[in-house]
Each structure stands twice: as structure tokens, then as C-alpha cells.
């Protein structure tokens, strides 16, 4: 639930003093992302049976989280509201995927 019950316009600290995430931090994240891509391809070439898709998706999710947290500055955001928006969006996407799978997954059960 929207929890920022503070008076709507208390002076919050000035916006442009983002915490100083230095450029090297970005480059490290960038390298991890490239490594993740390479790892995805390598993992896809190994026969993991039914787990191939799961592995690919977990690596992709980790990469997406890295981009969201560091490149899109969710990590340092001074307000929980942005996190709430992201989480609720993912929740509703999750609803769409799982509840439609509730139908397709159980079609052959009769």
C-alpha cells in the first residue's frame, strides 16, 4: 500500500547529489553482464535436460536485476515507492503467466 504518509512536500535532500557511484562501479557491472551473456550461451550448449530453460531464465533475471538496480538507480533511490511500482508490475505479469498456465497446465488432467 502506498506508505509514504509524510507531508507531501517535506524538503527531501536535493536530487542531484546522487550518491557518488563511480564509473568503475558501472564498468564492473558491465563486465558481469557481458560474462552473463557468455554464460547463457555456454549453458545453452550443455544438455541439462529439463533445466536448460530454468538456467537460462535465472541468468537473464540476474542480468535484468543488475541493470535495474545499478544502471537504473533503484538501489540508491531515496523512496520505496519506485520499488513498489516495479514489484507490483512484476506481480501482475506473474499473475498473467501463472493463471493462464493454470488452464493450459491442467487441460490433460481430466
Amino acid at each position: 500500500m502506498p506508505e509514504d504518509t509524510k507531508l507531501s512536500r517535506e524538503p527531501t535532500e536535493p536530487a542531484h547529489e546522487h550518491h557518488e557511484s563511480s564509473l568503475t562501479g558501472y564498468i564492473v557491472i558491465w563486465l558481469i553482464l557481458l560474462a552473463g551473456t557468455a554464460l547463457t550461451v555456454i549453458a545453452a550448449r550443455i544438455d541439462l535436460g529439463r533445466f536448460n530453460a530454468a538456467v537460462a531464465l535465472t541468468i537473464a533475471t540476474i542480468k535484468a536485476l543488475l541493470v535495474a538496480l545499478f544502471f537504473m538507480h533503484i538501489k540508491g533511490a531515496h523512496e520505496k515507492l519506485l520499488k513498489l511500482v516495479v514489484i507490483s508490475t512484476i506481480f501482475f505479469l506473474f499473475i498473467l503467466l501463472t493463471l493462464s498456465m493454470a488452464d493450459y497446465g491442467t487441460r490433460t488432467w481430466s
Partner: protein, 551 residues
């Protein structure tokens, strides 16, 4: 006895209406109040087109034989009635008209967070509207407003791609309005306007905006898929290639069920404000009513396949969605109980808005209860796709959303136009609408259980359905008259109505604390909120000596 006390305006003060004149000042305005009026005009236009189609449908069904129009013309009539009413009237009506006008004022802001995007929303609505009009005039669509595949993708040769793109464009108008509201409510509340002091109208629009934001994109992509399949033969829903027509229904209803909550939630917000004002009482269980709006928005996304119980989904999925559909019924029930409890120990006035609010509670309760019939798997098998469903959703949409919209228009008309509407005519119109509505749609419950399928132009082999259809058509004409009256006397009041004081109903809320009609920036000095929501005890004790006015 009318509560509206009329005072004579000494001098014509500057307000958002007379600040600027000329077409440019309207077509390029970023003032949320002017955009609300632009929406009001365009929505009323589409409402009367949809209503005209509805009258033609009812006229056709007066007689068993299909003798008024050809079969495919009838199919186009109910399709266009559905598409125009759902996408061009019900979804935008309260959020775009009353929401645009009041959300900034109620929270003490000067305008919405993104005024230019607000104007873009109206232009998207108009572009979509023109595309739909062109589609209707050059052939129309005959797939039903639900445009199920594979009929809509492979077997219908009407203009589905054009109608789909019209809805696609108008959908973005709805998304951007939702986005604007959420950001405004979060970021632009006046100092002191905490979440627990927000009017419940704002809570209702916050919940509606969540649905608009997260639901509309899914139907947008579904329309893209249907258009791609028709134009480029991509074949995603085409059973001959292995596509599953049920996937379309899943994606369509994933949006279209929450869309019915987009239509009803703002109406609930309007009715909450009206009941509090005319019963002179704080809303019973404020936080429960507020969180029930949010609960409806969230649960609304979990229940869509109760439209598909007989469509061929698995028995176990039907069980899951039937259970969840009962969960979504609870917040609506809580709201009805809280409205009724608010009247307890109140000081109730019976002005036109209150009559519409009473009508809303009555009809919405019946609509909600019949929803319980449809959510029960055993009964749904018999009554889905019959006139029982038609009656159910018209009780919610016409009985609920439209009554709330009219009630809201009457309640805030003095603030919007600076004029008082004729109270006598308004009460008469409310009564005609209530009676006409029940005469139109109650017989359809019986018709539905008897088994008359929906979307039938010809029931000559089932003459036993004729009596109920005749009753329903009679009701439809009364309803049509009931809807014409408000438009007439609202226009009349713009010219000849008594000038309205700033707070004719002595209502609580920031929008009543500025002039009516308000200035372009709503407030002379930025308001600071120090009182709780619906503080009618403070308002009434301050106005001990009541000004008696013949109304």
C-alpha cells in the same frame, strides 16, 4: 427542500471558463478543467450514438422475426453498441470527466502532474473516436465487442483491423490518464493532505488508475496480434496451424474483466462522496472502504476466466477462477454495507444527486448479487451467453456506473459550470431513469434463465420469449427519455441556471473551498489541510443558522 442556497453573484469573477476565449484556448489548453469539459462533450456524443444503437436493438427484438434490419446489420448493431459504449463511453466517462476535473482540486494541486500528456490523452481519444466513426460509417464490425477468434481473424470480412486500431489508440488515452492520476496523487498533494485525509473519490480513482495502467497494455497487444493475423496471416490464433482460440480469450479477458472495474470503481467513489455530503456524515469505516477499492483493483486481475467456464478451459482452472471470483465479490459487498451504515443516524437530504446514489446502491446490489449466480460453476453453465449475463452486466454498468456518473455530474455541476441545475427536473429524470432501467433489464433475468441466447436477432422459433422482450423494449424507450432530460436541462442551466455559490451543498472537500467555477489554478493561495476527511460535524456546527431557501 433543496439544500442548494442560491446567492446572486455581484460581479463576473475571472474563472477558468471566461479567462480565455477562442477555439485555440480550448483545443490547446493544458488546464485539467477544460480538458474535462472537452471529454464531457466528446463522451456525451459517443453515449448517444451507443444509445441509439441500443434502441435499434431493442426495436428489432420487439418482434420474434428478424424484420427491422437484416441479420448482419443486427450483428453490426450490437457489436458497435458494445464497442462504443465500453471503450468510448464507460471506460473514459468518470475518470476522464469528473476525475480530470476534480482529482487535482480535491488534493489541493494546481493541475495534474503532466498537463500536456493530459491533452495528448484527449487527442488520442478523439483520434480513436474518429477512426471508430469512420469504421462504423464505412461498414462497421460484426464480431461482437469481444471479437473472438477464429471468427474475427479468419471468418469475418468486416473492418476489424480498423476498429481494433481505433480501440488501440483510445486505449493509450486511458493508460496515460491512469498514469497522470497516480503520479498526481502521489506527488502533488497539498501540505497536510495525507493518505488518510484523501477523499474516497481519490482512492477510487487511484485503484482505477492501477487497472488502467496494468491492464490496458494487454488488450493493446492482443489487438496487435489480431490485426497482424488478419493483415499478415501470421496465424497465432488460427486452429488450422495449431493456434489456440482460447489463448485469445485469456488475453482478452485478462484486460476486459478488470475493465469492468475501471467502469465501476470511479462510480463507487462518486457515490461515496454524495452519500457523505447528503447524509451530513463521515463515511462509515473510511479505511475499509479505501482499501476495498485497492482490493477490487488487485483481485480484479485474478478472476478473468469466469467468462470462459464453458469455453473449453480445463475443469480445474474453472474451479480456481470460480473460487477467486467469490473473493473479489467481498470488497464490493463491504462497500455496499458501509454506504448503508453511513446513512445510520445521518441527516439525509433528497436532492437529485442523492436520488442517483440511492438508485446506484439498489441497482449495483442487484448486479453484484447476480454476479454470484454467474460465479457459481453449476449455474454459469446454464446462464452464460444468455440474457441473464446481459442483464447482470447492464445492472452493473448502466445501473451502477452510469447512475454514479449522472449523480456525480449533478453533484459537481455547480462547481463545473457555476450554475445550478433545475432541481425538480433533475429528481424527475432520476426517477424516470430508475424505473425505465428496471423495466428494461429485470425481464432479461427471466429471459436468461429461460434460455434465450444473447446476440440473437430472430427468435421466431421461440415465441414464448416475446412478452418479456416487449417489456424490455418498452423499458428501453423510457430509459432513453430518462437520459435525454439531463442533457437538456444541463445545457439549459449553462444559460439560464441560477448562479451557483461556491459551496451550494455545504460539502466537505477542497474542491468546494474554491470559487465555482474555479480559477485556472484552482486556489488563490495554496491550501494547507488540517482537518480529517468528511468533517461534516465541523461544517454543520459552523452553519448553525440554516438559510431557508425555496428549492
Amino acid at each position: 427542500m433543496s439544500m442548494a442556497t442560491a446567492t446572486i453573484q455581484p460581479v463576473e469573477r475571472e474563472n477558468y471558463l471566461n479567462k480565455e476565449y477562442g477555439v485555440g484556448s480550448w483545443l490547446f489548453t493544458t488546464d485539467h478543467k477544460r480538458i474535462a469539459l472537452l471529454y464531457l462533450i466528446s463522451i456525451t456524443f459517443f453515449f448517444f450514438i451507443g444509445g441509439f444503437f441500443a434502441l435499434l436493438i431493442r426495436l428489432e427484438l420487439l418482434t420474434p422475426a428478424s424484420d427491422l434490419v437484416q441479420a448482419d446489420t443486427y450483428n453490426k448493431l450490437f457489436t458497435m453498441h458494445g464497442m462504443v459504449m465500453v471503450f468510448f463511453f464507460l471506460i473514459p466517462s468518470i475518470p476522464a470527466v469528473l476525475g480530470n476535473f476534480l482529482v487535482p482540486m480535491m488534493i489541493g494541486a494546481k493541475d495534474l502532474a503532466f498537463p500536456r500528456i493530459n491533452l495528448l490523452s484527449w487527442y488520442l481519444y478523439i483520434i480513436g473516436g474518429i477512426m471508430m466513426l469512420h469504421c462504423m460509417l464505412t461498414g462497421g464490425v460484426d464480431t461482437g465487442w469481444t471479437f473472438y477468434t477464429p471468427f474475427s481473424t479468419a471468418y469475418s470480412n468486416t473492418k476489424i483491423v480498423e476498429a481494433g486500431l481505433a480501440i488501440f489508440v483510445t486505449g493509450f488515452s486511458s493508460i496515460l490518464t491512469g498514469l497522470n492520476f497516480v503520479v498526481t496523487i502521489h506527488r502533488m498533494r497539498a501540505p497536510g493532505m495525507t493518505w488518510s485525509r484523501l477523499p474516497l473519490f481519490i482512492w477510487a480513482h487511484y485503484a482505477t488508475s492501477i487497472i488502467q495502467i496494468l491492464g490496458t497494455p494487454v488488450i493493446a497487444i492482443t489487438i496487435v496480434l489480431v490485426a497482424a493475423e488478419r493483415a499478415l496471416h501470421l496465424g497465432i490464433f488460427d486452429p488450422r496451424l495449431g493456434g489456440d482460440p482460447l489463448l485469445f480469450q485469456h488475453l482478452f479477458w485478462f484486460y476486459s474483466h478488470p475493465a469492468v472495474y475501471i467502469m465501476i470503481l470511479p462510480s463507487m467513489g462518486v457515490v461515496t462522496e454524495i452519500i457523505a455530503c447528503f447524509a451530513r456524515k463521515r463515511i462509515f469505516g473510511y479505511s475499509f472502504v479505501a482499501f476495498s477499492s485497492i482490493a477490487i483493483a488487485v483481485f480484479g486481475f485474478l478472476v478473468w476466466a469466469h467468462h470462459m467456464f464453458v469455453a473449453g478451459i480445463s475443469v480445474y482452472a474453472a474451479l480456481v477462477f470460480s473460487l477467486l471470483s467469490y473473493a473479489v465479490a467481498v470488497p464490493s459487498a463491504v462497500k455496499v454495507f458501509n454506504w448503508t451504515a453511513t446513512l445510520y443516524k445521518g441527516s439525509i437530504h433528497y436532492d437529485a444527486p442523492m436520488l442517483y446514489a440511492f438508485g446506484f446502491i439498489g441497482l449495483f446490489t442487484m448486479g453484484g448479487l447476480t454476479g454470484l449466480f454467474l460465479a457459481a460453476l453449476g449455474i454459469d453453465v446454464h446462464v452464460t451467453d444468455t440474457y441473464f449475463v446481459i442483464a447482470h452486466f447492464h445492472y452493473i454498468m448502466v445501473g451502477g456506473a452510469l447512475m454514479g456518473y449522472l449523480g456525480g455530474l449533478h453533484f459537481w455541476w455547480p462547481k463545473i459550470s457555476g450554475r445550478l441545475y433545475p432541481e425538480g427536473w433533475a429528481r424527475l429524470a432520476a426517477l424516470i431513469v430508475f424505473l425505465g432501467f428496471n423495466l428494461t433489464f429485470f425481464p432479461q433475468f427471466v429471459l436468461g434463465y429461460l434460455g434465450m441466447p444473447r446476440r440473437y436477432a430472430d427468435y421466431s422459433h421461440m415465441p414464448e420469449f416475446q412478452v418479456l422482450n416487449v417489456l424490455s423494449t418498452a423499458g428501453a424507450t423510457v430509459l432513453g427519455v430518462g437520459y435525454l432530460l439531463p442533457m437538456l436541462y444541463f445545457l439549459w442551466s449553462m444559460r439560464y441556471g441560477k448562479p451557483a455559490p461556491d459551496n451550494p451543498w455545504k460539502a466537505a472537500g477542497l474542491e468546494w473551498m474554491t470559487t465555482s467555477p474555479p480559477t485556472t489554478f484552482n486556489f488563490e493561495t495554496e491550501p494547507v489541510v488540517t482537518w480529517e476527511a468528511y468533517n461534516y460535524d465541523e461544517i454543520d456546527s459552523a452553519h448553525k443558522q440554516e438559510v431557508k431557501v425555496v428549492g
